[in-house]
């Protein structure tokens, strides 16, 4: 892309060093954390002299940890379903014809994404009390769903703005009512955006700590469990749990990235 490389060569070498240093900064802590999960000792710290797989065996033998995984995944799936339906609906409204107060509506729509974590958690906690939702799974699902709606709206709106209007008009001319034309034309066109947004919501929900912490009951989600274990002391067991969680999220992320890109290419 650079027509005149001789001009910028010095910069380029310097900047590429910074880039790779940044890659190191981003990856090294995680790699160290993964390595520590194989350490054959109860004490966290370098150097690692002998290795073991016992901590991982422990994770898969521990029913408490496994059920926490299931609990977190269930919360992520349920909250994502709600977010995607509501978010798509709002996006269709906002991307449709102009109406009075649309910018106000947009502002209110993105509000939950802009409220700093702790304040959002506190506000949800107070509102859950007001609505009579007991702390626990329902409360977490609800909070995650509301918090993730703005992300779905933004992604779906971006895709919706590129939908050729002629397709809708053709469908309407052929006698389709608004609902049928939405389901047959708009929705299939939105599929890549909706899938991308769903994966993003799944990861946000699965990784969320602060809302799960303040709205949770006795059963912890995975981040809350790791946090509780960390407060009572570091141990390679935590590394093993965290690594399994890390592999799960990274795998979903990479798969989604490739999948959505392929879908975008096809359409």
């Amino acid at each position: 892309m650079n027509d005149r490389p001789e001009l910028f060569r010095g910069n380029r070498i310097f900047l590429s060093c910074i880039y790779w240093a940044f890659v190191l900064y981003v990856f090294v802590p995680l790699i160290l954390m993964i390595l520590m999960g194989f350490k054959d000792s109860k004490f966290i710290g370098f150097p690692i002299r002998s290795w073991t797989l016992d901590w991982y065996k422990g994770v898969f033998d521990n029913t408490e940890v496994l059920s926490t995984f299931g609990y977190s995944i269930a919360i992520a799936v349920l909250s994502t379903l709600i977010s995607v339906i509501v978010g798509t609906w709002i996006a269709v409204l906002l991307e449709g014809r102009k109406f009075l107060g649309r910018s106000v509506m947009f502002g209110m729509t993105v509000l939950p994404a802009l409220v700093p974590g702790i304040i959002s958690a506190i506000a949800f906690r107070i509102y859950a009390r007001y609505l009579g939702i007991e702390p626990g799974m329902g409360a977490i699902v609800w909070a995650h769903a509301v918090h993730n709606v703005p992300f779905v709206v933004l992604v779906v709106m971006a895709r919706l703005s590129t939908l050729p209007k002629s397709q809708i008009e053709a469908a309407r001319d052929l006698g389709a009512d608004p609902l049928v034309s939405f389901i047959r034309i708009t929705l299939p066109y939105l599929v890549p955006a909706i899938l991308g947004a769903s994966i993003f919501c799944l990861l946000l929900s699965f990784d969320d700590f602060v809302r799960s912490f303040f709205l949770g009951g006795y059963e912890p989600t995975l981040p809350v469990l790791i946090f509780a274990k960390l407060r009572s002391g570091m141990s390679p067991e935590i590394n093993a749990i965290a690594t399994v969680a890390l592999i799960l999220t990274a795998a979903i992320g990479i798969w989604a990235e490739r999948f959505t890109r392929r879908m975008n290419k096809e359409s």
């Binding site: 892309m1 650079n2 027509d3 005149r4 910028f8 380029r12 590429s16 910074i18 880039y19 940044f22 900064y25 981003v26 990856f27 090294v28 802590p29 995680l30 160290l32 954390m33 966290i44 710290g45 609906w89 709002i90 269709v92 409204l93 109406f99 509506m105 509000l111 802009l114 409220v115 700093p116 974590g117 702790i118 304040i119 506000a123 107070i126 509102y127 509301v146 709606v149 389709a176 009512d177 389901i183 990784d207 700590f209 602060v210 912490f213 303040f214 981040p223 790791i226 946090f227 960390l230 407060r231 570091m234 590394n239 965290a242 969680a245 999220t249 990274a250 992320g253 990235e257 890109r261």
Partner: protein, 345 residues
Amino acid sequence: MPCPAARGAGGQTHAKESCMTDHSHPSSKAVATVATDRTFWGRLAAWGPYHTLMRLATASPRRQFLILAAFPVLWVLTQHLGPMLQMLRVSLLDAYPVAPGVEQHFTLDNYARFFGDSIFWMPFFRTLAFAAVFTFCTLIITYPVAYFLARHVSRKNQMLFLLLLLIPFWVGEIVRTYAIMILLGNTGAVNLVLKWVGLIDRPIPFMYTSFSMGVGIVYLTALYMLLPLYSALEKLPQSMNEAAADLGAGAWTRFWRVSLPLTIEGISSGCTLVFLISTGFYATPVLLGGPSTTVFAETIAGFFHVAGDEWPTGAAFATIMFMAALVITATFQKLMNALRKGESK
């Protein structure tokens, strides 16, 4: 025209056949093929009750719009705005949750409490100062990275290079915080390397200081700075830099006079995002910070751990925090906008 025979799932096709024969098609044989060729949606659209319902719903553009808008508006008002408004209301009450038979009163005492004790406002100002410093650090660290990605990587490889940086950011807040704990601990990797090189004899206590907190928060927020910067830099035409170079501008001048002013929008949105996020961290300061780095999030959370009637105070403090963050980011954006307009004149 609702067709009385068209009810029940089993006899649908048949019913429609006869229904249509009456109205539009002279030959019943032709209709039979049409009816079976119809897709599910075609059959649904022709189904009497559905048809009537749709006609009612879309009778006027106004009604159609109301049906589309009712749910989103209701959702946004009750779910997005509701929690914030309820928080504001509780922050003005003298007691919440209220015992039966006791009357609630509106009061400003909860806000007054904030100014009364340095144990409250110290963490508040510390949080704002930390957030500002960490945001600035994030900007300094990620700008060259974004610049490299947008300007020096071929378009084919750009996604790959970007994706490489995205992978770690899919990992959750707690796991990444823990990774930083392992990196910076007394027996952590950094101390091991320093000792091995021979720079130190005894480990440096990085942990539980503002330094470890800063490393952690920059680590967590870097992406939210990187992406806006990247998209701003990507839009910047290469020819501008070349023109500046032709006119004799050195690398530093080119950056200072061309790239930086033209990416102010990206800087402004990245900084706003990172500032808002860093003020809201709770777990990271708890795990990486120490007693001298208590942030306001911990203060606020304290009111919700105890079972007592401290919620109004906690709500008031959260409101103060939110308002302060909003005012600061709004002022910052105004300033950046003014700067941008000044530059383009």
